[in-house]
Symmetry: D2
Subunit: 341 residues, 4 copies
């Protein structure tokens, strides 16, 4: 018996990625797909690459019979998600891919998202979906808030180093570059091909909302206030995030801390000291590659972390969390190798 899955917001890229991953998952089957603007369309028109699958038509959320559903992936836009999730019946497990339930502190949420939360009680008990850190809580909850894709890319290398106190927490700089699929499928001038290809620029400098997640998780790990510098850039490519993190600390200790923390983790790979990863080598997969390279100045170090924003940064992570919530093998459906070239 397969677990019955509904995907809300199935016409976006994270929706498509969920379907791609579930299509070869051994114990999930898709029972319902919703989309707002594309209601009534068949998935092969919305996403022709999925035409070989027998998928339900896109429907309105109201038309889904949730009594038949075991788990919902909610891939709706920020702010919409909270309104929908609070209406779902209790027996349904929810993995939310939006930003709505990531920030535990209501005031912090309001500061970064500019509005009061509509489902305060859910917000406070939702579990942050950084699987390798919240596994136990994820197992017990029925609401997981997947991390921001940029946040995940930075948190994987930084959390162990802060816990192990091997870096100066006042001097963390996260320089990051991300593929354009992270901006979603809604058309806007900034993401059309002629504006993105053959070019590179920074955006949302010093004010990107994923800073809220960095603040929350790094402060918790350090047990004191941690504020980082964070500069995201837009890459002329579809998938992949690379964070280049500048820290003060000893490269060997940093490398050891990471190796120790992740040596039992399937999806997080620490490269040999001195090697740096590339986004293309995790493309389409649930893997994270992390490298540590000492600076020429003693006591300084560059750390590189890469993952696919649509997979480990979003839909792959969501499946991983759902596997845990459903009590099945955490890696089920997630072991396909990256696609290169």
């Amino acid at each position: 018996m397969k677990h019955k899955i509904a995907i809300l917001g199935a016409s976006g890229y994270t929706g498509a990625e969920l379907i791609r991953l579930i299509s070869t998952h051994p114990s999930m089957s898709i029972s319902a797909l919703s989309a707002d603007r594309k209601v009534g369309m068949s998935m092969e028109n919305v996403f022709p690459h999925l035409r070989h699958l027998m998928l339900p038509k896109l429907t309105k959320i109201d038309n889904i019979d949730f009594s038949l559903i075991d788990l919902v992936f909610c891939a709706l836009p920020h702010a919409t998600s909270q309104k929908i999730v609070k209406q779902l019946p209790c027996h349904v497990k929810v993995v939310d891919l939006s930003a709505d339930f990531r920030i535990r502190d209501p005031l912090l949420y309001e500061k970064w998202y500019g509005k009061q939360h509509d489902a305060l009680d859910l917000q406070e008990r939702a579990v942050y979906g950084l699987t390798e850190y919240y596994r136990k809580d994820i197992k017990k909850t029925n609401l997981v808030a997947c991390t921001g894709c940029n946040a995940a890319t930075g948190l994987y290398p930084l959390l162990p180093l802060i816990e192990d106190k091997v870096i100066d927490t006042d001097e963390i700089i996260i320089d990051l570059a991300t593929g354009v699929s992270g901006a979603g499928r809604s058309p806007s001038e900034g993401i059309i091909h002629s504006e993105v290809s053959e070019g590179f620029h920074a955006y949302n400098i010093a004010k990107h909302r994923h800073l809220a997640e960095f603040d929350q998780e790094l402060t918790k790990a350090a047990n004191k206030n941690v504020e980082v510098t964070f500069t995201p850039h837009l890459l002329p490519q579809n998938r992949g995030i690379l964070a280049t993190i500048y820290v003060k600390g000893d490269a060997n200790k940093i490398h050891q801390s990471l190796e120790k923390r992740y040596n039992k983790e399937i999806f997080v790979s620490i490269l040999p000291l001195g090697e740096a990863p590339a986004t293309r080598h995790v493309r389409g997969s649930n893997f994270v590659h992390i490298g540590v390279v000492p600076d020429r100045r003693t006591g300084r170090c560059q750390i590189f972390s890469t993952l696919d924003n649509l997979t480990k940064g979003s839909s792959g992570q969501a499946i991983q969390n759902a596997n845990i919530m459903l009590g099945i093998d955490e890696a089920a459906g997630l072991l396909m190798a990256p696609m290169f070239p």
Copy 2:
């Protein structure tokens, strides 16, 4: 004294390309720029690559004093253009970059564009802007309708061959691939980076509106009805069109016909027999490269034609026509080499 230029619709890509070319033109200066949705914005915000120029702010068309203007480039959307052009004062020369005045026959216009023309008298006396063929008429008119970028790419190689009767006019197939900048700057799902890059497909198969131009000009050249097969494809690149044209005829005669027709033309280059051009080698320039390669089957031949859709396919062609209308050197401002890589 420089000629005073107004550009209507200056916030689109053809508008930007006109400004780029005029910025080093020896005898044009920009006096007014209009844009609809971006009125009041400075050009350095709309197009940061033009920030070094001292350009007028974007204004409404109604606010332009056309008594001070010598020539207008009209880079407005199809259907809008005809309404504006008919209101311009008589002394103003007009180079229209839209499709509005390309089709001389009102019925043919209606068939392909789905509406009656709003400026029938202008439509009938506008001169088709394929410079190398309508030079004399362009010199005398005050309204030139620039060609469609795909049409130009196909017409340059085909017109001499039809005039010289060296190909079978019933067996012309134009297979064409174009960069995405041809689709303009208005956001839509089909042109966002994630949908375009790393992919290739055909669109508007057998019904693209540039067929109207092929029909009109090829029929005129043949002095009998000519209908071609035309299949446009969208390339994962910004600029450039390559037409691969399948014809029946003798490759040597075809090559000779083209060499003879274009040996005095600055902007049209015929490659040695057997060589094929590449879009990247005309990028950003006003040049057309044409190659002829015999098929392995006697009596069949592939012809390749390439130009930059924004330059020779649109704004460069517009400047070339304007130069003629203003009585200055036809190549003024247009001799920069292609940008490669």
Copy 3:
């Protein structure tokens, strides 16, 4: 018990793609990997995206103990393959991805490849790897010659139409565009990023070696000599082939012929009449998408066929054939959905 696999030529792209596909295959395990220039290197250095797998080091072919191997994928360069394959022990099944065993007629081989074959007996009895057409022979042979990627893209739509006599076999034009990964991983000026990106051109016009395969298979299907026109172009993208095929025939009959032929085939999808496929929608998968669009001229028709050159065009096809040779489910390991975006 898994079948023990060796991959010869594992440092190229088809080698990497084989490993990617086998890594989640239920009944194959990789026992040996060879590479010529990269002997002794670990695969995580040659292909960092495969670092999560426990793969054997790259070795010389001479160092492989073939007595322990069930099946060999031979991903060696053309001309090298024939020398190696003839030395392999009899019990080993061989799937060859090179061009060496595709052409059954020794004279035709010599004509297109410019040399005599080194393993004439093998050449004559090798089975052509177009799975959906040679399934029965593949089941019985121990040497399969995978098709050329371009040939496969054109043969899928053309073979049924020729067999059903619904198109004029004298008037077939195959216009095709392919991603650059088809050119392999050996550096040369023509495939460096600055030469390929933001550009498009035709190559090997009217003389591409895959013509030999078209001639062989189409002539066999027609039971008379068939010569096509074939023009390949290079796309600024890594994966994917799209063939645009111009034929004379009735679009409805053509569409019906294709639907009938492929309605039981898992990997070949016929789109509704009037729709055209895109390379991006088969990326990384073993699927073929075929569309038929009538021309505006009665009796003419455009057919579009797309597949991923590294998957269905090469390594995926190879696995599919190996599955048949090993007597396991033909689709094993091949059902992952395409990766879009």
Copy 4:
């Protein structure tokens, strides 16, 4: 009378860019072109985009009659350049685009380039080609060493800030991303399209040779030892460099320092405080765009600097320096607008 120019190493990308720029330069004409591996080839075969120009054939350096040459652009590989330049006759002015004469200190040169210099006397008196800083010396010299493209991108924003003492010279981090054309036209696995496109990674971390230039120029400006952290990344695009520079200092003072320093410079633009530039907006031009954005943490600041590696980062800079050496308008031939999109 035009100045007679020779370009040594004309078959590489900087050679092509020099020719592109000179082709519309009012007072330079190309008299000789050399290339090593492509001797005897016509330029239209080496660079088809230049086919409309009447260029001399590629010849050996030994075959050039330098008595007829006024100025040589030396676009040869590092280490080769020094051997050639020292043999040139005295009357010839030389603009060298290699790294050979950038480092004034012979020991520093040896440290970074791994060998003793072959033309020590020339090395010591060559003028560093950062035009806006060495204008007076450039006017008087006959040997200019153009800067490294990455070095130029970082030096433009940093030099005034160090001179004005508004940043902490111990805490400078230069995170930089560059297009692949910077790696030249010699084929190698790392720059083929399938390896570069749709991917991003850092390289030469903490050991890139342009560090030698940073050390030299920043130390000179500070009048004390300055060592920066420098991390270059490879972008999936052809042209453009963006440096994201992390400094400690007051954003307003930093912005004012830059505005004051560059307000009379044609080619260096300072964006309004809070705005960041994009590589695509300087593409193909000689312009530098610099932006300053305050961090959320007081006293910290991000500075963004972008230029086209082939133009202002190399060949455009070379022309600018040559203009000065020849006593003509510094901006001659360099005012074309960037090409966007």
